[in-house]
């Protein structure tokens, strides 16, 4: 099955950066109401404005291999990046995942995220792969980041995900 790339299975069995850590600037809980999967995710930022850097993303997740692996890869790709860079990765992931197989992803932008290209052909699984990413953008917003200016791959400004991939609840 092209969906379950070795990298996905590997991350789902041994997720990177798992567990909730301190300190953090914001914490969110997102659930996928159709299957009951959930993730609690924290972000720690350093600095201000466009130069703010994501110091840590920690999480506690309950979910399928796609959602677990996607959140794991997310942490690899965004920890240590500036907020604008991380939002570009998010936008590229979202574009790929919603492309119905047309966009195989740019490894230079999303790194190991390209392993999830196959997910876009299974519309029922897009929410699984987006769960952690939606939680991340929500957590960034709650940490004071303006996420309304998330670029899409063409460089245009796009709003937040038109159809929320999950429902959220702020926690402290």
């Amino acid at each position: 099955m092209d969906l379950y790339q070795e990298l996905i299975l590997e991350h789902s069995k041994r997720p990177h950066h798992a567990g909730l850590r301190e300190p953090f600037d914001s914490q969110v809980e997102h659930v996928n109401p159709t299957c009951g999967d959930e993730v609690t995710l924290r972000v720690r930022l350093e600095g201000e404005g466009d130069t703010a850097t994501i110091r840590d993303v920690s999480y506690d997740a309950l979910g399928c291999s796609i959602s677990t692996a996607s959140t794991s890869v997310l942490t690899d790709e965004v920890i240590g990046r500036t907020v604008p860079e991380a939002l570009r990765v998010y936008a590229a992931m979202r574009t790929m995942l919603t492309s119905r197989g047309a966009d195989s992803g740019d490894e230079d932008v999303i790194g190991d995220g390209v392993a999830f290209a196959g997910v876009s052909k299974y519309t029922g699984r897009i929410k699984c792969a987006m769960l952690g990413w939606s939680a991340l953008t929500d957590a960034l917003a709650r940490a004071g980041v303006d996420i309304t200016a998330i670029p899409d791959q063409t460089g245009r400004e796009a709003g937040p995900t038109p159809e929320p991939a999950s429902t959220s609840r702020e926690t402290s």
Partner: protein, 450 residues
């Protein structure tokens, strides 16, 4: 307070006992009535559809009935001074008679709704609206009192309910100040009736429960629950979505006050459901949805309402779907519901036996096929149900994954979700084998040691 009475053991159905299951050639013949079963899915594989508990497929006879209505009789029913309107009305009311006969009810006690969810909400809002000033004017005070909920009154449900038979009652409790209580479950997936006499008590005004669990397949002891409800004067609502497609259901024999089911799970069209209710109760109930069709006299100052069932059918009704549902009832009757129950039992037993041979699979719900019907839900060791479903889909096997709109039930068993296979008359033993063979790929794909 009466001593705890012995509970009757649930059976699949009194009238289904002893019926012979469909033979393989019979199932093969009836499959030819379902065009969708000939299509292929991913990789050109034949479709193995084991998701009929979510929605069933429709035989040509049902599709033809809907089409014939639109092609030959289409008109808004109960309106119009023309021939087509008369024919459409006759078709709609004729469909009501057929559906009523299918469940052993008088036609006047059958209300057509959008689906079972609307049927249950219709009852919930009757309770809610009964408390409004003037809503029960002219109703026998004793009957009216049964519908009025106040703080201190109690509504009882069970922990195995589909959200459609839980959330409306939660909301009703919130609106009226009544308290929601529930019967728990045993580890085996049966209702825990050890505290039936305390949970259902003199304060209980309403007991709502499912006939057959959409997750566990458990067949509930309707008689025991109805007897207790009667002792305390509570009204009973039965969610029959998973029983009417699989069992001979006779409303008089069940003894409940209300019964709800959907058309699309019983080979009928989407967009139509049924609420059956006892005539004297429907007659006392205030309307839920209001507007055209359901009125008696309308003046600017206020309106009076039609007698049931029209009182609960506001707007132009879904006549084509009613005709389609009646065709589904005729189709099921011709197959013989008792034999379909036996067929279902055979499929359930085969799947349970196959899963028992696989120690890395855990079934939720009763392990004895005699105690269940229609659906088998399970979890695979160390693999998330969504991933199980994806591998099955890759083999052409369609199942449902998730909490199946029964989240509290899953929580009760410490699960977030399960994989569910569910049956219909067209399901074959070969399809059960196909599911088991596809399931054997799962540990391999996810490198799980078994």
């Amino acid at each position: 307070m009466a001593a705890v009475t012995t509970t009757t053991r649930p059976t699949r159905s009194g009238s289904a006992e002893g019926a012979t299951a469909l033979t393989a050639p019979e199932v093969a013949r009836l499959r030819a009535d379902f065009p969708i079963l000939t299509r292929t899915v991913r990789g050109g594989r034949p479709l193995v559809y084991l998701d009929s508990g979510a929605t069933s497929h429709k035989p040509v006879r049902v599709l033809d009935a809907e089409r014939a209505f639109y092609e030959q009789h289409n008109a808004a029913v109960h309106r119009g001074a023309h021939l087509l309107a008369e024919e459409a009305t006759d078709a709609f009311e004729g469909a009501r008679e057929t559906v009523a006969r299918f469940i052993g009810a008088p036609a006047g006690e059958v209300v057509f709704t959008k689906n079972a969810t609307e049927s249950l909400n219709l009852v919930a809002y009757a309770f809610s609206n009964a408390g409004a000033p003037g809503a029960m004017t002219g109703v026998d005070p004793e009957v009216a009192e049964r519908f009025v909920l106040r703080p201190g009154d109690e509504i009882v449900v069970t922990e195995m309910e589909h959200h459609a038979n839980l959330v409306p009652w939660q909301e009703l409790a919130r609106r009226t100040g009544a308290t929601l209580r529930w019967l728990g479950l045993t580890d085996e997936g049966q209702l825990d009736l050890s505290d039936l006499h305390t949970v259902v008590n003199e304060r209980t005004k309403l007991l709502a429960f499912t006939h057959v669990s959409n997750v566990l397949g458990t067949v509930n002891p309707v008689t025991t629950l109805v007897e207790r409800a009667r002792e305390v004067g509570a009204l009973t609502v039965l969610d029959a979505c998973q029983s009417v497609p699989h069992l001979p259901v006779d409303v008089a024999g069940l003894g409940v006050n209300f019964l709800a089911f959907s058309g699309h799970k019983m080979l009928g069209p989407m967009g139509i459901g049924v609420l059956w209710g006892r005539a004297e109760l429907l007659a006392a109930m205030p309307p839920f949805l209001t507007g055209g069709s359901m009125i008696e006299v309308v003046r600017m100052e206020g309106s009076t309402y039609a007698a049931p069932p029209q009182r609960f059918e506001a707007g132009v009704p879904m006549a084509a779907q009613a005709v389609g549902l009646a065709a589904a009832c005729d189709y099921l009757t011709a197959l013989d519901m008792s034999r379909l129950a036996a067929h279902d039992h055979e499929l359930t037993a085969a799947l349970l036996a196959g899963l028992a041979d696989r120690p890395w699979v855990t079934v939720v719900g009763p392990t004895d096929a005699d105690d269940r019907l229609g659906a088998v839900s399970f979890v695979v060791k160390d693999v998330h149900p969504h991933d199980v479903g994806q591998v099955l889909d890759d083999s052409g096997v369609a199942v449902r994954v998730g909490h199946h709109c029964a989240w509290p039930l899953h929580r009760r068993f410490g699960l977030s979700s399960t994989t569910r296979a569910s049956f219909a008359p067209y399901t074959t033993l070969d399809e059960v084998d196909a599911l088991l063979a596809a399931l054997d790929r799962v540990p391999e794909v996810f490198e799980v040691s078994i």
